[in-house]
Symmetry: C2
Subunit: 308 residues, 2 copies
């Protein structure tokens, strides 16, 4: 299954011409999950030729404008384009009221089904259990209620080695093997061992999204071993005090979280508009966690091992 | 006094990469009036290097998203940039609620003064009487309450011809002449005629903004003689039925209004995304009203006669 991250916005609250506000696409097979939706996100989708009808889930981390001001426009455009596919919208308390007030005053009837799931930003929750993946919330510490998201593939099934099985081997037995149970043939008493008759399942991959938050070591156990971590890095070392004061993180702090949680790869973004160059961000983070990448507009990063 | 229109958006509801949603700047001397504020307008201001702190008035025509989804982002950015100048915001019922719900959930305290003036979209109203100009609302006929705006310079004073006056001519007498009254000198009985001792005042200039509306001949008397009329022209002749059904206008209908109202110049915009070329819009409008221009992104048009 295809599993990758596309970065649509690397900026923070102050508008910048060369950096868009937060928006991230996770593609899982043919479906897309959009995480955060700053102003103009629908135009980024057009630029990258991404069909917005493929978006089945939208997750909003918190109600600062650089993370959600583009949502009302995107939903209105989905409606204008005669969408029929349902949409799951996950976000904090208040989001539903913000949208419904605007739909009401604009006389908009949304013709597709929106399932709204309200987060409880202060506790980690399994918020969505999809046949192919789960979405958990990650409590963050920001100036207003805010949570990150952790998307995990479900463990894939073992792959059967058909060529080793007898002909007309019963389908229920195949199912048992694929699910990891040894089989004893009722008719013959013969035992078929999982290890012999199947290939092992591939490890489930995972992506975690942490924006916006102050440096928060409590995240480490929740992030343990994720394949790809996006963590905000609004500031560099020189502005560590300002990071603490505004409930943001530095690039080094993001890297510390990544190192302690033993993640596979870290990508940092949400850069303050004061930084024209990001060399200090890169150097400071990589000195702590070498597998750090800088987020760039339009960058696509595979999550975990690439699968056929 | 400088008086000109800058066009920041020529598109309509469906998002288009080469046309932005509605936003128009009227500059009056050093102050700016922003009319409508579609998604991304604050980025257009950055692109055109327009200092958003010069915006003193924002006028919203109606609550369809392509006319106001950028407002919350612009106001938030004004606040982030430590604005202190007060702002007058004029818009339809509902706008104030939409903004306050979002300020509340984002924990935003707007630190500058916003004076909100609610329009009554169904009747023409003198909504703002400024020392240098007036703003009137123009009732339009759209699917939801909607009004246009008419901005008129105040009549400028007559210019005194000092070189013709006797020395030590009393200041109160000068004031009378400038205001258009003949003067009789109390001391000598001499009469000073306005026509001889002053140059005539320049005619007051005016700009009218009509978007979105169906073809509405009732506008003609309200628009009589304005120097520049912006009128929406979502469709061309071939889609006149669709225009009527969706409460929009064709280019030809906009031109009919302009011709009947004897305006100085017409500019049309708010183009449906289906039109790649605008040749039919231009040809059909100009066949009725030759002084028609097509709106283009970034186009600047002087309003009325240019003044020193």
């Amino acid at each position: 299954m295809n599993f990758e991250l596309t970065i649509l916005g690397t900026g923070s609250a102050s508008p910048q011409l060369d950096r868009n506000p937060s928006a991230f696409l996770v593609s899982l097979d043919t479906d897309l999950i959009l995480i955060d939706c700053g102003e103009g996100t629908q135009y980024r989708l057009l630029e990258h030729k991404i069909k917005h009808n493929r978006i089945r889930h939208i997750l909003i981390s918190h109600l600062h404008g650089d993370h959600y001001f583009g949502l009302i426009g995107l939903l209105s455009s989905l409606n204008l384009s005669h969408r029929t596919e349902p949409l799951t919208l996950i976000g904090p308390p208040g989001l539903s009221e913000i949208l419904s007030v605007q739909f009401e005053h604009s006389g908009t009837d949304i013709a597709f089904d929106i399932q709204f799931i309200e987060t409880r930003p202060d506790e980690p929750t399994l918020i969505l259990d999809h046949p192919r993946f789960t979405i958990e919330t990650l409590p963050l510490a920001h100036r207003i209620p805010c949570n990150g998201y952790l998307i995990r593939e479900k463990v894939s099934k073992r792959k059967i080695r058909k060529e080793l099985l007898p002909e007309n081997f019963p389908v229920p037995y195949i199912k048992q093997l694929v699910e990891g149970h040894d089989v004893t043939d009722d008719r013959t008493g013969e035992v078929f061992k999982v290890e012999h008759f199947t290939f092992p399942s591939l490890p489930a991959r995972s992506f975690a999204y942490c924006s916006d938050t102050k440096y928060l070591p409590e995240l480490v156990p929740l992030l343990h071993g994720v394949d790809l971590l996006y963590h905000e890095a609004t500031f560099d070392d020189a502005l560590e005090d300002r990071a603490a004061k505004t409930f943001h993180s530095t690039a080094r702090q993001a890297a510390k979280i990544a190192a302690s949680a033993k993640v596979g790869q870290l990508v940092i973004g949400h850069y303050s508009s004061r930084y024209k160059s990001l060399e200090s961000h890169a150097a400071q983070a990589q000195s702590v966690f070498p597998a750090t990448r800088l987020a760039e507009e339009g960058l696509v990063i595979p999550i975990g091992q690439i699968r056929p």
